[in-house]
Symmetry: C2
Subunit: 184 residues, 2 copies
Amino acid sequence: MGIRETQRETVVDRLAAHMLERGLAQTSLRQLAAAAGVSDRMLLYYFTDKAEILATVMARVAGELALRLADAIPEQPPLKPAELIRRAAAFTTGPDMRRFMRLWVEVVAAASRGEAPFPAIVAQVMAGFRAWVDARMDLPETADREGTAAAIIAIIDGLALVDICSEDDIAPRMAAALGALVAD
Amino acid sequence: MGIRETQRETVVDRLAAHMLERGLAQTSLRQLAAAAGVSDRMLLYYFTDKAEILATVMARVAGELALRLADAIPEQPPLKPAELIRRAAAFTTGPDMRRFMRLWVEVVAAASRGEAPFPAIVAQVMAGFRAWVDARMDLPETADREGTAAAIIAIIDGLALVDICSEDDIAPRMAAALGALVAD
DNA sequence: GACTCCTTGTAGCGACTGCTACATAGTAAC
DNA sequence: GTTACTATGTAGCAGTCGCTACAAGGAGTC
């Protein structure tokens, strides 16, 4: 592996940490370069353009997210929706996961205004969410499996969005109240 | 009312329509000026700076949103959480409201990265949401009223966020599945 | 040493950003 | 008619954006 590839890996690592910390706020080429400890000139030597940088870094972040999700709740046994929601809510509002969810909300907003490469990233992450829920959801044959999975994702993402908006730490109470709202 | 004030009103009207249509994608001064049918020079004659423009326009949008919400579901009689969620979900995923919810997600993201004047706008709109839910929610004395209201808002906002991400029109199925997930 | 290729710094391009200085046209008061 | 104030256009500032041309260092080959 040449210097270029080694440096690429290092840079992606540092930028993933940077974006988890700062969201999409500090993502100009010069700001990214400073965060990665290289010059902006070299950033465009390692990557072809800014979109490729963001796509690569976000793929790394998405990979870490997928690892954590897979570890958080096992696929077996499948859970009824209410229990799945409770466990997922408790997990995603935890201190470690909030950075991911906050970045996720920002990425969705960027995608909604068509900013490359975010629409593609959103499609990929969203597919991962759906598969994750689908693999863990115990649902009667008669129910709408896709619709229910989408609803569960919506609930989890909604918690993150409201969490971002609230200066006081309402997440635990919100998650607890949510647990009471959903029933098997 | 002088020409300046009259023009201000016209500009705010047009910009509110523009931002509901385009979100935060086209909000440079020159783009806003084009949408309002004036020169960017005049925009900064009617308003002191860009933050004041955005704050004024978003206040107008928030006002329209509040009107629609107030009309959609009456305060009396108060509804049990599950029924309130069902009715609010059906309403906010409707064709007219989706523009509002989409813009709302973008505004939350902008606020989360500290971009003026969005944090203040988010605080104001969020307080409106809380009051709206609180006024319509029939909840036992023993329950956590604030936490439950936050959870309901999270569910509604989550529907909007997932709606944005999905190219196919999954909102109705998602709303229906959600209705089955929540119970009185 | 000459040649070649990978790596890196310097410097800057053209486009866009929010914003402003300056001049001018119009209008009302006296 | 002069004065004063409001309203509007022209032009451009300094800064940031993504990106690139160009040159030079460094290492290996012959």
